[in-house]
Symmetry: C2
Subunit: 394 residues, 2 copies
Amino acid sequence: MPTPTGVGTEELRRANLRAILQTVHTHGPTTRAVLTKQLGLNRSTIGALTGELQSLGLVTEQTAVVGGRGRPSHLVVPSDDNVVVAVDVGVDRIAVALVGLGGEVLDRRTRGHQRGEHDVAHVVESVAQMIDETLSASRHTRCLGVGVAVPGAVRADDGLVRFAPNLGWVEEPFTELLSKRLNRPVSTGNDANLGVLAEHIRGAAVGFSDVAYLSASVGIGGGFLVGGRPLTGASGYAGEVGHMQVDGAGPACRCGAVGCWETKVGENVLLQRAGRLAGGGPEAVAEVIAAARAGEPRAAEAVNDVADWCGVGIRAIVNLFNPQVVVLGGSLAQVWRAAESRVVESVQRNTLLSPRGDAALRSAALGDDSPLIGAAELAFGPVLDHPQAVPQAV
Amino acid sequence: MPTPTGVGTEELRRANLRAILQTVHTHGPTTRAVLTKQLGLNRSTIGALTGELQSLGLVTEQTAVVGGRGRPSHLVVPSDDNVVVAVDVGVDRIAVALVGLGGEVLDRRTRGHQRGEHDVAHVVESVAQMIDETLSASRHTRCLGVGVAVPGAVRADDGLVRFAPNLGWVEEPFTELLSKRLNRPVSTGNDANLGVLAEHIRGAAVGFSDVAYLSASVGIGGGFLVGGRPLTGASGYAGEVGHMQVDGAGPACRCGAVGCWETKVGENVLLQRAGRLAGGGPEAVAEVIAAARAGEPRAAEAVNDVADWCGVGIRAIVNLFNPQVVVLGGSLAQVWRAAESRVVESVQRNTLLSPRGDAALRSAALGDDSPLIGAAELAFGPVLDHPQAVPQAV
């Protein structure tokens, strides 16, 4: 391993290690030549830094022939010996994935909650069992952490779930319980905040600084990037998009108010408006959309109506945040793909307003996995921030 | 003047000059002892820096007796030889103020637009005349800049007013025209963005990082501080709060959509609902509120109704941004003071939602002058950022 030279202070060294690790984690295998250029460091310094990352077991190096002139360059590759466990606690199901450094999903399992199983002890046990199974089946040698997405407001410092209405949770120490059960540190975040993070790193919002991520299932989650930074609000509860009042006439919302956006565009609203039973989840939504396309009047009417109301909420978000891109997830993505022009027409209804920068509307590139991938990024956070602190035990 | 010592690079020196000047501008006269402590520099360095600011004509020093032990300390005082001109172009009137370094309003004039005088050439000429008069009457020796607040979307780099619906402006080169007419640089910003800035520096939002400033006259402006930074959005058009749809039943809004928040709480809505003529401005709103208090049923009903709708919009903003404080300006402040409990009840209608950090509701501490004071801060910006670049000509 080359002697570390050319790096001034320990802090600078850490910043450079971080920059290299984040680059290969986000963009995949990268040549030393590219890293040298990107970081503005000399080749021997890069060699020393990648050597240190290699000895930490975080990257490997391969000799690759790059470019037309056939000059060989070392390719720095994230080592997928390192994994994290990502968990998405949805209302209908729990998803658990093993994600390698570099972002590849190596294993993915889902299990439905049964109705009534939202009791926090049940959920902790289900999640823990799924994690145990996943890690047992894994050939990967080092689990760097566990990240969890929940549909609720999460206190940043200890992961206390302040409120997750669709799970019926209030002030639940979910994170602490899961961490004790697993005997591992666990990080928990709001699903929509993790969704926008994932779409920004690896999805439909790469390269954008101002992003709105709106995702509907039973409720609607909102995650925002504002000037390149996550919108958290004063207490971490920002982004509650589902309870903007859009209609004075109602209906009553479970939050206590009336006419909230959620009462117009949630998954179950679409299902019931189409004459289906609530609770069928994404598959039932897909069935309604297929029926609408096949000409069933009631389904078509439901899709059109929900598309119009989708536009009403998106319009408010565009006017408030002036994002470059609005990323739609969950049933909002399904409705968007089914009735794109109808949604756009509704978004653009205030035509006489400011000639604002056009916000692009897109479905989530990571599909329903945005929060799950965001949970993986949450778990990778400490190592990406401080590579030298990676646990050496296997 | 003491020899500058103890400051490393020119950049560091500039940063320290900036820190001192910003401190005395924001907090008023400050002793060298306090500056020494705050900046973590030694006394001779502070002496050198304040000496330089003095020679630039930006501060004066007074010998003051401070504290119980009677030890004299130099008091660093912003020099009000330095002024800026602040302008607020409202829909009903133009306000022009002379504001000293340190933030004191030294002179203030208003002039009504006549109806139809929103033509940009007329407005430029009115503003310029008012500025000429103000500066002629002034004993102050150095005008550092001109800052203007307009009720519209402003392009950051050149002050082009993209859209100011209540003035009927679209793509108007107002800033360029005024700058040519005055033969001085002019900086222009959105009135609500400048309002939140002023309230954050000198008003009801001092010390808060997450702030919503909502101000109504004919339209509603929204200015936001998010994590301590102004919310601009991708193109500078963020904060358009007036066109969130709050009622599917209407009425039609001038923006082309229906049921926008502005159609429920604008100044003229209150007036018309109370049976008055539109266009009477803040005085007419005050008359309705007084009548309501005196028991006139139609006025009372109008105030209550508008208060309810105020709460609907504020609730959406609180849910989206989770601010520590919501600062209300213009007729929103009038309605808030008249019907506080009614507004709060409406804001809190979704009682079953997250036990979120309680956002405090307050009227703007700077009254209707928040945008004007913000425009002064905009004009002070270049000198506060780079004190050594202050124009030496008088």
